[in-house]
């Protein structure tokens, strides 16, 4: 059963994501004030939410590790956070493109979500440093798990902090009036989000399977030696 999960997810992701993008590009109405550039929305926001989902999943696996002390959760937690970080890079890239197109700048310190996301991104980059500079073993697994849990707590806390900070760092230059989202827009968005989540799940399964295969091969080679 498990062996089929990966390919099935991959196929599902492709189908749903393709549909979603098709809907977003050709079916959903064009945004009144932003024009065609607004269509990045359908990629950018689902990617951002998917990144959060990955971090959350990683923290959940971390909790399982600390709870049960089963070594396999370490790899699962790591893989989830790895995925989250990859999607995080994509958020920064798509966000910056959007910013360039609609605001004419690549980055703005006044946008709370951007800064929040940058802080989180730095936090999770340090997660990899922690892993690379520690010898593999139960201790590393524990430390990574604790750090991953700190991550999910940091998300709401920094959100709160950035919200507080807004007043004094910069005057708010760009207001972000939530555009009245048409039903069709929302539907296309949901399909895109589902597709993105499926894509993340497929990648997660693929990486996990690869890593497990590696470990297995190593064990076999050792047993033969």
């Amino acid at each position: 059963m498990r062996n089929n999960l990966g390919p099935a997810l991959a196929v599902g992701a492709l189908l749903v994501l393709g549909t979603g993008l098709g809907l977003a590009l050709f079916w959903a109405p064009e945004d009144a004030d932003q024009g065609v550039s607004q269509r990045i929305f359908y990629v950018h926001v689902p990617i951002a939410l998917t990144a959060y989902a990955c971090f959350g999943w990683g923290a959940w696996k971390a909790l399982r590790l600390l709870w049960t002390r089963e070594a396999r959760y370490d790899l699962e937690s790591y893989t989830a956070i790895h995925m989250g970080t990859i999607f995080g890079v994509l958020v920064l890239v798509t966000g910056s493109i959007w910013a360039k197109v609609s605001w004419g700048i690549w980055w703005s310190w006044s946008e709370r979500q951007l800064v929040l996301f940058l802080v989180l991104f730095l936090f999770y980059s340090a997660y990899f440093m922690l892993r690379y500079s520690t010898d593999p073993g139960p201790r590393r697994a524990n430390m990574s798990a604790v750090y991953a849990l700190f991550g999910v707590v940091l998300i709401p806390v920094s959100f709160l902090a950035i919200r507080l900070a807004e007043n004094f760092i910069h005057p708010v230059v760009f207001t972000r009036e939530g555009p009245q989202m048409a039903g069709s827009m929302f539907f296309a968005f949901c399909v895109c989000l589902a597709g993105m989540l499926l894509l993340a799940a497929a990648l997660y399964q693929a990486e996990l399977a690869g890593k497990r295969l590696d470990a297995r091969v190593r064990e076999l080679r050792e047993a033969l030696a």
């Binding site: 002390r69 070594a71 010898d135 593999p136 073993g137 139960p138 190593r218 050792e222």
Partner: protein
């Protein structure tokens, strides 16, 4: 007291212990022998609970504060004196009659005159004696000694002989050594690693 089945420990790729079985009854005395790098210290750290097994089962019938563990390093603060170190450990272990017992051990291991000196000024043998004091401070029921004779002079070694003889039967002992003849008279079983 100790029950291990298929005990395994890896460091990264490297498998140090592979499938070790061990049964030690309360009051037993295990001599652990084996060449350099065979995994004696690893085994003792596993028994102490400082390392987790990466495979197999390990059961120890002793609470953590009933274990006394002597490592290669003395596990004491170098910048504190012997007295300050033992005082700290005595408090943490909640040793009854703490001060008296510390005084007794310092005297027994010949450290009384040097009790106020920083450990970093100790000679190696003195540090080993202090480590023995630390290990025995809370009168542990499971005593794990990793090469306890190392760095001790002839007097110190005789002292330790007597200490081990007194503990045998009363406490469970696991002692690693490169000189098995020294502990063989007391040992009830021997584990040879290779």
């Amino acid at each position: 007291m100790i029950r291990a089945r298929g005990l395994e420990r890896r460091f990264g790729e490297k498998r140090v212990l592979a499938g070790l079985d061990l049964d030690v009854a309360a009051g037993g005395f295990v001599a652990v022998t084996g060449p350099n790098g065979s995994g004696k210290s690893t085994l003792l750290a596993l028994l102490a609970g400082l390392l987790a097994p990466t495979g197999g089962e390990l059961e120890i019938e002793a609470r953590r504060d009933e274990v006394g563990y002597l490592a290669h390093e003395p596990l004491v603060y170098r910048e504190l004196s012997a007295l300050e170190n033992l005082e700290l450990y005595g408090r943490l272990y909640r040793v009854p009659e703490r001060r008296e017992r510390i005084g007794m051990l310092l005297e027994r291991y010949g450290l009384w005159p040097a009790r106020h000196e920083r450990v970093s000024a100790y000679s190696r043998g003195m540090a080993q004696r202090l480590a023995l004091c630390r290990t025995l401070l809370h009168d542990p029921s499971l005593v794990l000694l990793d090469e306890p004779y190392s760095a001790l002079d002839a007097d110190g070694a005789r002292l330790l002989d007597a200490e081990l003889a007194a503990l045998t039967g009363e406490r469970t002992l696991v002692v690693s050594t490169h000189d098995p003849d020294r502990v063989r008279p007391l040992a009830t079983q021997e584990v040879s690693l290779a």
